[in-house]
């Protein structure tokens, strides 16, 4: 019987060698469709279109997310302008409804999620010591598909006239208000189709990243040696994996109703609109943890670095993340306390929600404990990270007050909720992600963002943020409903609304200062003759710092072998005879310098872009004209066909080992070592390294 054995060189692996593991076999064709030759090389702007490099894809995710953030932020400013005074008339009620809907949708699906995806793509393979994700082409496809969906959603703002066809039923889009009868223009179609497309992107990338983490770890990188960020990203991907199909179902039902007259939310035919609410929130609640967990991971990288201590309670940090992931599934109906569920359901969901505070609290307290007795350097990333600890707690606490079902009947759909979720999303997720930008900027681009500008921008943002959303607590408790285009003068809301509006423009200043900082720092770096920032400018801990900055295309020159948690840090530091921690090696000496040119990398490909584009065309077709959809389908099928016939690695490519390797998408991500592993410091008597076997056994 011919069973080819897969190499198991990793002592830390599962050891369940699968006797049914069947070989995947050799590549079959090199010239897909026989017409096009493959894209080659990694220079020039076209190389970005066809790249399958996880780092470039990560950068593109980040850039797109930042762009959409400006769009969503501009929308937010219009919201604030309209609400600044009673009887506001900056934009009318109709436009207002479109603006807050597309603001919510943009911020959630086109800003926070892709920004997290940017970090996941860039850092996840690096942190586990891999050369790329498991399926690089699928990764590229995820990005293009996301971008297609994002463009489709955003184009609704101007297609057919400004704000004429924008989704306007709120970001959770309750039926039957989202039906054709009540929202006859194409806005909700854009919503349904656009989210479906970005959903495909996220689902594919979830599968991809899960396999990457499970399968592509460097030697010795057992699960409990992975950085907290990797863990949080992994949990996020699992949440996506299981949550997305639920909203997929909901969106399909909505689409069927709107496009083909089905009856799922047609009350006249006996439907119960609560079905939409359940389906949406079964997705929607895990979704909020999808938004926050990556930021939690980022904070867990930044705080130890600038406290000069390992993360406190690593295993509890991981376990609480997993616990949040699990518990997040059993609380969705806390968004429906007033929807008319029976008291028993309300009671159950109320209590289950409250207890999510426990694992989240564990995280907050562990960060504080990490800082305790540390040597805290308040660099810009650290400011952001500590900002998260502080601001997220505020949002979390108001979240707990929502979970008290009887009182939520007073709070729900008021600005008290709006305050809650901006505190957790802006004060938690977004601040965390911004901190991540500052932290990893030198790794990604090879130079630092300016610290002075960074700090100034942080403080401006933080102050603006609190002035914008702090007053919303008060407004909400004073009875101001959300999603109202304006309010009466005698309701007493004018003052705090004005404060909030001013605050939002202060945030805008902070954001502009960030953009300026990027521009300014880049220019300064260029003018200085592009000095090398070094592999490890922050004296950090993760494997991503063990290679040159910016990260070379092949990530690491040699295969990495990991011996403990925070391995890179332990390579830098050892203990002297007195047991004091001393530097054992310079980062430059340990880190790979990116000089290995003999690495075979997965080759670029046209098909991810074509496939992603095809899907968006199908999307537009569903909204406007089925012929466009047919055209999209042609692209889609062609791309799939080309994709399948094309091996992941082009045997003709420059760095090839030659023919004969298989078309596993991940092939050749590990090169032959060219240099011996850098010498290790005296082994640090680190409890982690001893715990390892026990804790993960």
């Amino acid at each position: 019987m011919s069973i080819t054995q897969r190499t198991i060189t990793d002592p830390a692996t599962i050891g369940t060698e699968d006797k049914l593991a069947l070989p995947a076999g050799p590549a079959v064709a090199t010239r897909p469709l026989g017409v096009f030759s493959r894209p080659q090389g990694s220079e020039g702007w076209t190389s970005w279109l066809f790249t399958v490099d996880h780092k470039r894809i990560g950068i593109m995710y980040g850039a797109a997310a930042l762009f959409f953030f400006l769009v969503g932020g501009a929308e937010a400013l219009f919201i604030r302008l309209q609400l600044a005074t009673p009887n506001g008339s900056v934009i009318g009620a109709g436009t207002y409804n479109g603006v807050f809907t597309i603001h919510g949708v943009t911020m959630v699906f086109l800003v926070i999620m892709p920004m997290a995806a940017a970090f996941a793509n860039y850092l996840l393979p690096l942190q586990i010591g891999a050369r790329d994700v498991a399926f690089p082409r699928l990764n590229a496809f995820s990005f293009w598909c996301f971008l297609g969906g994002g463009v489709l959603l955003t184009s609704s703002i101007f297609i057919g006239g400004w704000f004429q066809n924008v989704p306007d039923a709120g970001w959770f889009n309750y039926a039957p208000n989202s039906g054709v009868l009540f929202s006859p223009h194409k806005g909700v179609d854009f919503y349904a189709v656009g989210l479906q497309i970005t959903g495909i992107a996220s689902l594919v990338s979830a599968v991809n990243l899960i396999v990457t983490v499970l399968n592509m770890r460097a030697k010795g990188m057992s699960l409990f040696r992975m950085p907290v960020l990797t863990w949080m990203l992994l949990i996020t991907q699992f949440l996506l994996l299981f949550a997305l199909p639920v909203i997929t179902v909901a969106l399909f039902l909505l689409m069927f109703d709107r496009l083909w007259d089905a009856n799922f939310f047609n009350v006249a035919a006996g439907a119960d609109p609560l079905l939409w609410q359940h389906l949406f929130w079964i997705f929607g609640h895990p979704e909020v943890y999808i938004l926050i967990l990556p930021a939690f991971g980022i904070v867990s990288e930044i705080i130890p670095t600038f406290s000069r201590k390992p993360i406190f309670g690593y295993h509890f940090m991981v376990a609480s993340g997993i616990a949040i992931g699990f518990m997040g599934w059993g609380v969705w109906a806390h968004h429906m306390f007033t929807s008319g569920m029976g008291p028993l359901s309300v009671a159950a969901f109320s209590v289950s929600t409250m207890f999510i505070a426990v694992p989240t609290g564990v995280k907050i307290l562990n960060w504080l404990a990490t800082m305790y007795r540390g040597r805290l350097r308040f660099t810009t990333p650290m400011l952001y990270a500590v900002g998260v600890v502080s601001m997220f707690t505020i949002g979390g606490l108001s979240g707990v007050t929502h979970s008290i079902a009887p009182s939520d009947t007073q709070q729900t759909d008021t600005y008290y909720i709006v305050a809650h979720f901006h505190y957790v999303i802006f004060g938690g997720a977004l601040l965390g992600l911004f901190g991540g930008f500052y932290f990893w900027w030198p790794k990604v681009f090879g130079y630092m963002l300016n610290e002075a500008w960074g700090k100034a921008s942080f403080w401006i943002m933080l102050i603006g943020f609190n002035f914008t959303f702090g007053p919303m607590h008060i407004l909400g408790l004073q009875g101001m409903s959300r999603r109202i285009a304006t309010y009466r003068a005698d309701e007493g809301f004018a003052f705090w609304n004005m404060v909030a509006t001013i605050g939002s423009f202060v945030i805008a200043v902070g954001v502009l200062m960030f953009l300026w900082n990027v521009f300014f720092s880049t220019r300064a770096w260029r003018r200085a003759g592009k000095p090398d920032v070094g592999p490890d400018p922050w004296d950090a801990r993760g494997l991503e710092w063990m290679t040159a900055s910016p990260t070379p295309e092949h990530n690491f020159d040699t295969d990495i072998e990991v011996e403990r948690f925070d391995d890179f840090w332990h390579r830098k530091y050892g203990r002297n005879e007195q047991g004091r921690i001393v530097r054992a090696a310079k980062a430059e000496d340990i880190a790979h310098d990116g000089s290995n040119t003999n690495v075979h990398l997965p080759s670029p490909s046209y098909w991810p872009l074509v496939l992603g584009g095809g899907i968006s065309l199908v999307g537009y077709g569903l909204i406007f004209n089925l012929w466009i959809a047919a055209l999209g389908l042609v692209f889609l099928v062609g791309a799939l066909y080309g994709w399948c016939l094309e091996p992941a690695d082009d045997p003709d490519a420059v760095h090839s080992h030659g023919a004969g390797h298989d078309d596993d998408d991940h092939s050749d991500l590990h090169s032959k070592p060219v240099a011996a592993e850098a010498s290790h410091a005296e082994p640090d008597p680190d409890p982690d390294s001893q715990n390892e076997a026990v804790s993960s056994g």
Partner: protein
């Protein structure tokens, strides 16, 4: 022995290192199938929730279902799972001819099932149950339609394998590809097991 295997692997290609020792593709398929559970779960619950939400004189499940017919087509799909495992086991043995035969048989059985579904849909439609007729209609067609689409995709993949095999591109070295597509196929079958029981056999 282990040394032998390892050195052999190193000579062929170093790249096959994977932390779990499992192939990425197979792992990905299982991860994906985990996700599909929630998709079909959602559709099935939607059906269960909506099937009775029809007026007293509306056309409902008991008016249209033809259990003997559906039983036969369900049985056909069930048996296609058997032929699918035969295909996998043939290619592991290196028996490419039988592999092709079983692949084709599986695809054919799948096609019979889909044809049955098409027939069923037209029959129901002529009895007055359209997609838009009532909630039962919408939910029923959505659920079984989604399943049918999955089967159809499966058939296309099986046919592609068949063509690959004819061209000599599907050797026993690529047996895993067949296995992975088999996983998908069985999953679709398993979903039908649930649908058949819940939608058709549950007392109306």
């Amino acid at each position: 022995m282990a040394d032998v295997l390892m050195s052999e692997a190193q000579t062929t290609d170093e790249a096959h290192h994977s932390s779990t020792g499992l192939s990425n593709e197979k792992l990905a398929m299982w991860v994906f199938l985990g996700s599909e559970c929630l998709l079909f779960g959602g559709l099935i619950s939607t059906y269960m929730f909506n099937k009775d939400r029809i007026g007293p004189d509306d056309i409902g499940p008991s008016d249209v279902f033809d259990i003997p017919f559906t039983s036969v087509s369900s049985f056909v799909l069930l048996m296609s799972s058997l032929t699918m495992v035969f295909a996998v086991s043939a290619i592991t043995r290196g028996d490419l001819r039988s592999n092709r035969i079983w692949l084709a048989t599986t695809a054919a059985l799948g096609a019979v099932f889909v044809a049955g579904q098409v027939y069923e849909f037209t029959a129901f439609y002529s009895e007055g149950l359209g997609f838009t007729t009532n909630l039962f209609g919408s939910a029923f067609y959505a659920l079984t339609g989604f399943h049918g689409a999955h089967v159809t995709i499966g058939i296309i993949m099986l046919m592609s394998l068949y063509v690959m095999s004819l061209r000599g591109n599907l050797t026993s070295e690529r047996a895993e590809t067949v296995e992975i597509i088999g996983l998908y196929w069985h999953f679709v079958d398993v979903v039908w097991i649930v649908i058949f029981t819940i939608v058709y056999l549950f007392p109306q």
